[in-house]
Amino acid sequence: MNIYARLVYRNLRANLDKASLFFELIFPLFFIFVQGFGINGIVPPFELGGRLVTYSEFLAAGAVTLTVINGGTNAGTQLWFDRKNGMFEQILMGPFTRAQYILSIIFATLIIGVVGSLLVFVFAFPVVGASVSFTLQGQLLIAAALFLGTMFFGSFAIALSVALKSSETFQVVSTFAFFIFLFTSSVFFPASSAPTAIQTASLANPLTYTTDIFRAGLFDALTPTVSLELTVLAAEAVVMFIVAVVAFRKIRV
């Protein structure tokens, strides 16, 4: 078994809090089945990339990308558990490099993010199924959105967990930060219909791009800006990964 596979397997077995994972999956379903249908009655179908979609379809696709952000939180939690329980140093005194360790956390986070998204998508299928277009291009866009989004938020959570001095503070600050990401993105509403300040913030928000690209792929509703959004998201993910690696190297043992 490859060294990364071994570390990833260990991260998934040892550091995942199953109860939190369950609620992270349940959380998006509330948006899909409660908020989506609740608001659907007062919001008429609207155009998205040349196609008409209902609000519940729009929100269901956004809610799937919520698992990306939840997966990201898991990366920080994994690192915190290892630091708190002495396994961080124990592993670094084994035949592994720091790079292998941090990448194993990112890979584990990718697995959580992608598998979580797929699970939520399965539940959301009755809502969005009728509008889904399974094209190769669409599937590639979905894969890219989930991969890059999880990479960004996983790296962000790692950098945050290094910067903060206790796991409790990390939980509070990461929850707050992710709420800001959430409400300045296009998960709940199209960014173009938001107040100007939020529209501006959404342009820097990787969750906006993750969600837009995901929707474009899901509904085959390509907009002229999809390639630009993909490029910005990739750049943000790479930059945040570098920040996480630099922060991680500074952890004092």
């Binding site: 397997y9 077995r13 040892a14 329980n85 002495g86 084994g94 035949p95 043992v253």
Partner: protein, 325 residues
Amino acid sequence: MTQDGTAVRVEQLSKHFSEKVAVDRISFEIDRTEVFGFLGPNGAGKTTTIKMLTTLLPPSSGKVTILGHDLATEGRKIRARIGVVQQQDSFDQGLNVETSMDIYGLIWGVPKPERRRRIEELVDRFGMQEFRKKPTIDLSAGQRRRLQVAREFIHDMDLLFLDEPTVGLDPIVRRGVLDYLKERVKGGLTIFFTTHVLEEAEYLCDRIAVINQGRIVEVDTPENLKRRFGSAKAVEFKLLQGSSPEMTTALTTLEGVSHQVQDESTGAYRLTTSTPESVIPGIYRLAERLNLTVSSIYIAETTLEDAFINLVTDDNQVDTMSGGA
């Protein structure tokens, strides 16, 4: 191992944290299959030294060769051949005892059948049968410590660093762990061992380095340390007649006795001396002259703890007199 049979060679190793010198130009060598004790008071630099030797902390200066590999450039090769039991707890909170050992073996690349075999052996040897299915988060401090030491033996290694491995263990388990370590040394393992329990250092170590304020004060065998730095021995005796004021007075004239004390409840005398072999006949002569009978007499042996305390105290006094290092 190196061709000359040296497992660890440390030359002028130092570690500075800003202005503070944690480890100050220490040098020593450890032979293969040797158990090398590293003793020192709290904050002496033991854990910092271990962290440097296990590649966790970069040294500020000095040269270290471990198992033939240069610490500065071949850290990963070193880590692949060592095991470490840290002073602090280390456990996977989401796993039970057995699974935690299994996954630790997995990340080290130990094949599954071998892991299964070793887990059975270690669970048995470390008395973990009762709690092998218990989540690690629910273990007592002693159980968790036992797991931490046992878990390290799931993978192969040539050199094991043990930083106070028996903290929290009861005497029976502790002895079992020490005996297991001795067995592994016979099988070719080299051990670097720190502890505050000097009896176990004496029981296990071939040589001991005493470190104080970041500097190595002395390196020798436990026997030599006791002989060279142990306190004067004590002669303890009792009289059939119990307490005797005449004897108490007469003992002050006995040559070679630096201090005498009498236990009021038992009447036993304790004389501190560096020459017990000449003091004992003197006691019998005094007793005969005073018409008293010695009912029991023995020499209380010096301990490694005496030697350790004397070494560290003397070093601190030298340091104070010279105005600090």
